[in-house]
Every structure is written in structure tokens, then in C-alpha cells.
Amino acid sequence: MFCLSDMSRDLTQEGGVVSGTSEVKGESNGEEQRNPALLSLMDLVSQSQISSIRGVVAGILDIIDNPAANVRALKEIIAIDPPLTAKVLKVANSAYFGSRKTISEIDQAVIWIGFDALKEIVLSQKVCEIFEQGHEVEGYSRASLWKHSVAVALLGKMIFRREFGERGENAYAAGLLHDIGLIVEDQLMPYKFREVLQVSKKERKNLIWVEKKVLGFEHAEVGGVISEKWDFPDELSMSITYHHKPDKLGASEFSKLASTLFVCEYLCRGGEFGFGDARYQEEELYRYCLRRLKLSPVALQLILKDMRLEFARMEGRGLFKV
């Protein structure tokens, strides 16, 4: 059993949490029936600061999803969020874009750095906000998670562009948001989340597996429910939900993005883009995804190399920080 003192600060005391970390059993592997613990967690999310990004994020995702959307629509979305506008302009003026003129308006930003780049900046600046909120649970670093998310986003986008010949904007968005469930757990149930991290490390088990045992759900599910509740496009919410088990989507239209997310996460595990969640025994699923996406290791290595270069360039020019 957990310590009472831990329970008292934990925000999801009820909700059928499986207790006893010593007697972990095999994965239940059930369908996505909505688990009461998950639903009560969603209530907390809706009252928490995490929800503050909902409007802007959903708005940008709509714009990305709609090829006819123009600059004015984007302007309208960020006009109501002056701190965001300020951040976006700051990024637009950063050395990365190397604009000679000082960009002081969104219109100018569109002209100097382009609409597509601007959409990415707005989205990443807004999503980044929730990585800055609240206290950090020991055992993992929020900054590392943000770095991981950006890396997955970049990699996903590059795979879509170079291998699939598609714009890959949704892949970028999915990358940024795929681990939003972890932020929720970290902020709204910090004590249990700390335990999850500890058990995962000690017993060398996948984080997802420990989450299911300790919390009754894993962060991809949390992210999935949030993206549904927040009316994200289906492709996005489905791929976030299934990014740990893209095989469950079979040949559905969403499996491409979900599988890509899985591949990207796999490639960004550990090392410079990891956040302390080592992955165990996932090679089979990884190979399945490569087959499904017709990706060759040669191609992935090339793309990964370019992603590292791009990432270093962004970091070196102060494009993002947490």
C-alpha cells in the first residue's frame, strides 16, 4: 500500500488504482474502455492550468488541418493571447531565422519567416507553456521531456516530408503533443507519478507498463482522452492514443501517423533526446512499424542525422528553452 501522506496529496485517490507494486501482473491489454480513474483525471485537467492552452492549440490544429486557412485566421487566434504573440515575435526575431528587420507584427512575421514556420512557432510556443507550469517531479526532467517532444516532432515531420512526400504538419503537432499525458500525470498526480518513475527504474520495466499497474492507465491514453475532449483532429487524437501500440490500428488511415510516432519515439529514446524512460523489448513492434511504413534503416539514419543537425542549430540559436 502507499503511504497515507502520499495519498493525501495525490489528486486521484479514488478511481480504482491497482495497489501493491510488488505483485505486478501481465498487461491487461483490454480495449479502450474508459476507465473511471482516467475520467476523474480529466475533470482535474479541465480545472487545471493545463487547459489554458486548449483554445489556441485546437485553433492552430484546425488551421493546419485546413489547407484553405489563411494568415488572418492564425492572427485572430493569437491576437487574444498577447503573451503568446510576444513570444512568437521573439522567436521570429531570433538568430535562427536571421531576419534583418525587426519583426514587430504577425503580418511581418508571415512575410519574413513564412506562414508554415509561423504555425510551427505558434504551436510550439503554446504547447511549451504547459512544460513550464507547476513543480517538477523528481526522477525525470521536464526540460528533457520538452526536448524529446521537439525531437520527435522534427523527426516525424522530416519522415513525412522526405519519405512520404507530405507536408508533415500534423506529424509535427503530434510529436509536440504526444506525451501531454505525462505532463498531466506529473502535475496532477505527482506522488503516484514519482512512484511510477521509481518502480520503472528499479525493476527495469517499461514506463507504460508500470503506469498501468500503478495508475490503471498509461499516458498515451491520457493524451488521447485530452485530445478528444479538446476536439483535436481525429488523426491527431488517434495517433496520440495509439502511439505506444500502433499495431492495434491495423491498416486504418490513422496508423501511418501513429506508427511514425512510435518509430520517432523509439529513435529518440535514451541519449540526448530521452527523458529517462528507457524502453525494453520493443524491437519487434519497431520492426513491424518499419515494414508498415516501408521505411529503410538507411533512410532513417539519414533523416536522424539531419534532424540532429537541425536540432543543434535550433538550440544553438536560442530557438527554444525550457
Partner: protein, 458 residues
């Protein structure tokens, strides 16, 4: 084409030729895709810039148009204001001078025998002076707060009164061939306004309409209630939501040319060949009065078809009182019984005229040239009434004078006079005890009646 699970290590030395080729092929494929996507995106960006640019261009044109219209409006307003200031100054001084002329003429008139051979000249001069006084009165109304207090009134009532007035009868005589019709809404709402100023508006609009008509023309005076829903424009006007009363004066006369329509409210602007002499300030007065009533005037005119003036006033739900018209007064009714009256005015001619009038009416009148002198006099003398001019630079004004007099003689009766309309200081004087306010130039009858009324008060 590629089998997974092989342990290929791209980017490392020691690759076979085949492997190197595969890396290059992949690289080329990647670059091709990037190139194609970048081209697509650039094309879309160009479209985006174009959208933004055309949007800005449209905005600039729009703003420029708005700006020009506003500039024109402002220039007109500035011109009106400058003219107003000038006219106001002229009117004020002219009014004092005129008061002297009228006063002496009236004294001369009274002192002359009825069959005096020069009577005709004096009456002619008095007539001309009165016309001048009317013009100055218009000017003063236009230039500064000539407005009396606004009271609830019925426009229907005002129109009916106006149609029965001697002025209207005279107008009908001049324009015998013009038919004047009315179309008054029976349950018309009241408005808050200055009846006198509004009757002048009515007079000016009607007489202009009649001037514009040819033989057999028709002038229509109409009233109606309208309700404006929020945001719905009534014609071209932007009215906020609420109840309005509309006064319409319509004619089927010569009309006003489009380029002249914006100028008709300017002082002394006219295109008419005058059948009789106006003051040149009629429409300016109309404009000013409507502005002071927070009303809106709309002009629709087509040359050779006719003109329509619609005036929108905010409606009020307050009821109005019918004022009892002043009775005709005979001079003998105004005569005093030797009561002592002190006239305080800094202008000598004004003092002389008023003391003369009062003496003639049987009062014992004396005068003081300043407030300070008047207070001195009060220390050793008693007066039944003091007539105080309001503005006497550089000395203390009428209100201050009255305050000090009250400390010497509590309850002292007083009448306040001024060339300007009722100001806050006048109101204050009335509040602390002064009986009435008389606007200069005062006629013998008016000042006589006021003095009499004040003295007969308990």
C-alpha cells in the same frame, strides 16, 4: 525495396559500393521530396502575401477615403467655430451698442407727441433697430449657450402654435400661392427642448421651404415617432437604439444642388434671390439648435424636385406643462409709486437708458457704475430694488455684488440683467434671492413688468 532488420550503418566508413549507392539514392529521393514540397509551400506563401497585400491595399484606400471625409468635416466645423467666435464677439459688443440705440429711441418715442412730424422717422429707426436686434439675437443663440432650459414639450403643439402665429400669417401673405399642409402623428411622444429655439427652427425651415416653392407649391410639415433598433441605420444616419421623434419639413420647390447641400448651414450662405430680407443666419441657427438638442438633421434634396429636412430628436416620456401666454400689457399697468431703485451697470448708456425708463415709469431711480460703488451706496441708503448687470469688468460681477449687498441688507430685492443668456452665475444669483433675469436689450415693457412684479412680491 528495403528489408528491415539488416544491420546497415549509414554514414560509416567501410560500406560496400552497393550500400553507398543506396545511401545516395535515398538522399536524392529525400531531396526531391523536399524540393517539391518547398516549391508547393512557396507558391502558397506567394498567395498568402498577395492576400495580405491586397487586404492592406484595400484598407489603405478605405482609410484614406475616411480620412479625407473627416478632414472635410473638420475643416467645416473649424470654419463654423471661427465664424461663431467672430460673430459672437461682434454680436456681444453690437448688442450693447444696439441697446443704447434702442433705449434712446424708445425714450424719444415716448417723449414725442403722437402727431409729431418726425414720428415716422423714429418709428422707422425703431423698426430697423428691432430687425438688427433679431439678427443679433440669432447670432447670440448660435454662438454661445443661447439656449434656455430644456423642458418636455410636444412638437405637434409647437407646430400648431407656429401655424397660428402672426409670423406665419405674414409668411402666408407673402407666399399666397403656396399651400402649407400638416401631417401630425396623433400620439406623438414628447421631446425635451427649448420651445422658443425650436419654433425658430420651424420658422426658418418653413420660410425657406416656402421661398423655394413656385406658385402652387406645397410645403408639408410632418411629425412621427420612430423606434430605432440597435445597430440598424435609419437612412444614412447612425442612430443609437431608442425612441425618436422626427420632424419633417418637405417642399416640392427648386431643390438644392448637391455641391451646395453641405454648405447650407454656413452663416450667410445663400443661393436664394431673397424675396424679403433674412438675417442670413437662419439655417445656421437651425443647425446649432438641433446640435444643442442632440438631434440629427438629414437633408435630402433633388434640384427641381424638392427638398426634405428630417430632424431626429430623442423622445422623452416626461409630460409637459402648457405655459400661460403673457398678456398684453399697458404702460399704465407698469407705473410705479416712487419706489427707490438702484441701477448698477458699468456701461454709461445702459445706466442712463434704464434710469430714464424707470423715472418715466414713476420710480425714483439712481445708478452706480460698478458693484463696489453700489455697495458703498447701500451702506448709507436703502433701496426697494436693485437692478444688477451681471458682467462688469474689471470690477466684481453682479453675483458677487449681490452677495455683499445681502450681508448689509438681508432679503434685498434684486433683478439681474445681462447681454448673454442665463449662465450658472445668473442661476446662482437667482438661487440666493434675486427675483428675475432680464436679457438685454430690454424693452420698456419687459423691464417695466419685471420691476413691477418684483416690487409687488411680499
Amino acid at each position: 525495396m528495403n528489408k528491415t532488420g539488416k544491420k546497415e550503418k549509414a554514414g560509416e566508413a567501410g560500406k560496400t559500393f552497393e550500400e553507398k549507392i543506396r545511401v545516395l539514392e535515398t538522399r536524392i529521393r529525400h531531396l526531391e521530396n523536399e524540393l517539391r514540397l518547398t516549391k508547393e509551400e512557396s507558391e502558397q506563401s506567394i498567395q498568402n502575401y498577395y492576400d495580405l497585400y491586397s487586404n492592406m491595399e484595400r484598407k489603405v484606400i478605405e482609410r484614406t477615403r475616411e480620412f479625407k471625409a473627416l478632414q472635410k468635416k473638420m475643416a467645416r466645423a473649424e470654419k463654423m467655430e471661427a465664424l461663431g467666435l467672430l460673430a459672437g464677439g461682434v454680436a456681444h459688443d453690437g448688442n450693447n451698442i444696439l441697446a443704447g440705440i434702442v433705449g434712446y429711441l424708445e425714450l424719444l418715442h415716448i417723449s414725442m407727441a403722437k402727431d409729431d412730424e418726425n414720428m415716422e422717422y423714429v418709428e422707422g429707426a425703431l423698426d430697423a433697430s428691432r430687425q438688427m436686434a433679431a439678427m443679433i439675437n440669432d447670432l447670440l443663440t448660435i454662438t454661445r449657450g443661447g439656449m434656455e432650459e430644456k423642458k418636455p414639450l410636444s412638437l405637434n403643439h409647437l407646430v400648431e402654435e407656429f401655424l397660428a402665429s402672426p409670423t406665419m400669417l405674414e409668411l402666408k401673405k407673402i407666399h399666397a400661392g403656396v399651400n402649407v399642409k400638416t401631417s401630425l402623428m396623433s400620439d406623438l411622444l414628447n421631446i425635451k427642448g427649448d420651445g422658443y429655439a425650436l419654433s425658430k427652427v420651424l420658422l426658418n425651415l418653413t420660410s425657406n421651404a416656402m421661398d423655394a416653392c413656385k406658385e402652387g407649391g406645397v410645403v408639408e410639415i410632418a411629425t412621427k415617432n420612430i423606434y430605432v433598433e440597435d445597430g440598424i441605420a435609419q437612412a444614412d444616419l447612425k442612430l443609437s437604439s431608442g425612441e425618436y421623434v422626427v420632424l419633417t419639413v418637405r417642399d416640392n420647390g427648386v431643390g438644392i444642388k448637391k455641391e451646395d447641400q453641405s454648405r447650407i448651414f454656413e452663416p450667410f450662405f445663400t443661393k436664394k434671390i431673397m424675396k424679403r430680407r433674412g438675417t442670413g443666419l437662419g439655417m445656421t441657427l437651425v443647425y446649432q439648435t438641433i446640435k444643442e438638442h442632440d438631434g440629427i438633421i438629414e437633408v435630402n434634396s433633388v434640384p427641381e424636385v424638392g427638398s426634405t429636412f428630417d430632424i431626429y430628436f430623442s423622445a422623452t416620456r416626461e409630460a409637459f406643462e402648457i405655459e400661460v401666454p403673457e398678456n398684453e400689457t399697458r404702460i399704465t399697468d407698469l407705473e410705479g409709486k416712487g419706489e427707490k431703485i438702484l441701477v448698477v451697470d458699468d456701461v454709461e448708456s445702459q445706466r442712463n437708458i434704464l434710469t430714464n425708463i424707470l423715472s418715466r415709469l414713476g420710480y425714483e431711480a439712481s445708478s452706480a457704475p460698478s458693484g463696489e460703488k453700489a455697495i458703498e451706496l447701500f451702506k448709507d441708503n436703502e433701496f426697494d430694488l436693485v437692478v444688477l448687470d451681471m458682467i462688469m469688468p474689471p470690477g466684481i460681477d453682479g453675483l458677487e455684488t449681490y452677495r455683499r449687498i445681502l450681508t448689509i441688507r438681508p432679503g434685498q430685492k434684486a433683478v439681474i440683467t445681462s447681454g448673454f443668456a442665463e449662465t450658472d452665475r445668473v442661476k446662482e444669483a437667482l438661487k440666493i434671492g434675486a427675483g428675475q433675469f432680464v436679457k438685454k436689450p430690454y424693452s420698456l415693457v419687459r423691464i417695466g413688468r419685471v420691476v413691477k412684479a418684483e416690487l409687488s412680491k411680499g
